[in-house]
């Protein structure tokens, strides 16, 4: 993958808590191309936020990257000094968060926060940075941007604030935008608008996007590729069509079963995935999903499945998909 913008290789992240080592991410590998939109989907606690936080090198104690590597634009993120990393954050990689109501500082104006970002990375004079800020606000569909610059966050609605966050994130033309559940706390109509905006901005700026969400419905609309995470591992990844129409992993099937109006086109009753998420403090030896899986085999309890290719760019980490010729590992 010559033109990979981002490569994560067997990333492992743990939290060293008094209760023990919480293995939040257990060997996550992925690659992201320039301008690609990648959706990361998984239930709460599956390690989505933690992995992208590590990518920004913003993990705080007791969290620590305990293994693997992250390469961004040919540079080794994990080896960077904190000063180098500050030059990357907000400039090459930007991030927006779940709750736009709290992600902007309540005591500074929109303009102040926007200009601050621009000046940090470009050293532009204030006036020029302000012009750029106004332009960015206009670009993300905020009307009356000059006036908004002088307003405080509480004077804007949630959707507007998320637009401001996007404007701020894109103000230095990053190569990668990470959106961690950018629409979770917004109402449905605004959700659609924000997703459209992210898509539009991707088209206009060519930035790659990592979109984190719980919601498979959302990712199908704007993502090129989807990764399904479970217990700190990627259990299945592929194109939107792969995930929806050639669903491979039992966990993904479970997730799709949770969507109203299932993929089969018939209105099947909603199904919950039985059981509880695995205890990250005491990871089972085998597959993390085994205890909740309807198709669990003996080997699933013994050994964690590696990723098996099932199609062009479609992989699944399930023993069911072990290639036929590797018969010796069959149970």
């Amino acid at each position: 993958m010559a033109n990979s913008l981002l490569e994560m290789d067997d990333l492992r992240i743990s939290f060293f808590t008094p209760a023990g080592e919480v293995k939040a991410v257990n060997g996550m590998s992925c690659a992201l191309n320039q301008g690609e939109v990648l959706g990361i989907v998984g239930e709460s606690g599956s390690g989505k936020s933690v992995s992208v936080t590590a990518l920004m090198k913003l993990l705080v104690r007791p969290g620590k990257v305990v293994g693997g590597g992250i390469k961004f634009d040919g540079r080794d993120i994990l080896a960077m000094s904190s000063k180098e990393m500050r030059g990357v954050r907000g400039k090459d990689i930007s991030m927006i968060f779940q709750d736009p109501m709290t992600s902007l500082n309540p005591v500074f104006t929109i303009g102040n926060q926007l200009i601050e970002t621009i000046r940090t990375h470009t050293g532009m004079p204030k006036k020029e940075a302000a012009d750029r800020g106004v332009k960015m606000l206009a670009q993300v569909g905020i009307n009356n941007p000059e006036k908004r610059m002088k307003q405080f966050p509480h004077e804007l609605s949630g959707g507007m604030r998320q637009r401001v966050m996007i404007a701020m994130a894109l103000s230095c033309s990053p190569k990668l935008l990470i959106a961690d559940e950018p629409t979770t706390s917004l109402d449905v109509t605004i959700q659609a608008q924000i997703l459209d905006l992210i898509k539009k901005m991707r088209d206009e700026t060519g930035a790659a996007v990592i979109l984190i969400t719980h919601d498979l419905g959302i990712v199908s609309e704007i993502c090129d590729r989807i990764m399904i995470m479970y217990a700190g591992r990627i259990v299945e990844s592929g194109s939107v069509d792969d995930i929806y129409y050639s669903t491979a992993h039992p966990y993904t099937k479970g997730l799709l079963g949770c969507l109203p109006g299932s993929s089969k086109g018939v209105r099947a009753p909603l199904k919950a995935i039985e059981g509880n998420p695995v205890d990250l403090l005491d990871m089972p030896k085998g597959c993390g999903f085994a205890s909740r899986c309807g198709e669990c085999m003996k080997i699933c309890l013994r050994e964690n499945p590696p990723s098996f290719p099932i199609g062009e760019g479609h992989v699944s980490a399930c023993w069911k998909h072990v290639p036929v010729n590797a018969s010796e590992v069959r149970p």
Partner: protein, 303 residues
Amino acid sequence: MLKFVSFRLLSSLVTLFLVITATFFLMFLVPGGPFLSEKINAATLAQINKKYGLDQPVYVQYGNYLKNLVKGDLGISFKRRGYTITEIIAEKFPVSAKLGALAIICALLVGLPAGMLAATKRNTVVDRIIMAVCTLGIALPSFIVSTTLLYILGMQFKVLPVIGLETPRNYIMPVFALSLSPTCYITRLLRSSILDIQGQDYLKTARAKGLGEQVVLFKHALKNALIPVITYMGPMVAGILTGSLVIEKIFSIPGLGKYFIDSIEGRDYTLIMGTTIFFAAILIVANLIVDILYCLVDPRIKY
């Protein structure tokens, strides 16, 4: 904003009126009188009381007092003959004000950096020491602190002067005693409010924007963390004001606080009323300033 200030000024007139009324009647409920301690016979006493209007029923005196007050006349002192209350306040208040202002400045100058230091070094030895000192500083009453200081530094080692305010060195002990508790309080308040906002999303945003830790702490965190400190400024001024009453007495400082205590002991009615009204007015103005500051720091507050 202008509307808010004028409304507050109007409502403080009501507060002031209640303070005046309560003080006036309470004052007369306390037994004794201004001239009892003087060696005079009953006839002379009655004459003096008549001269000052003290022979009339309390409500009549109250009415007269209010009438004069509206004209800006606080009356004359019963004890310091020949002086009007206004003159006494004008003469003595600057002394107290200087002491109080120094105490407030010290509390901010020491408390704010100490609070930030403790917060940035949380759970280290530095933090623990600062917190231990603060707990002690808040718990110790100022009269204990000042008498202990007086005894050790003033009497035993004789390194600092014990009475008056003639030289700058005279200020050290009273200002220390007066500002100790507010300093400690500000330190703890700022520390805990900085720690409280550590997990806030906007700080995550600030870091994700590529800002340095200094900017995150001194710009984004501090301005938010100052909000509770500003709220405390009103009670702090009140505390320093009441504290100064005791401190001025202990260090024999000829400020308004000392006169206030003396006036109560001597039942110098007009002086009691005058100083009470004056202190109340200071508190009202201080709280108004705090509210305006509050509004300036936190744009979410709208009056």
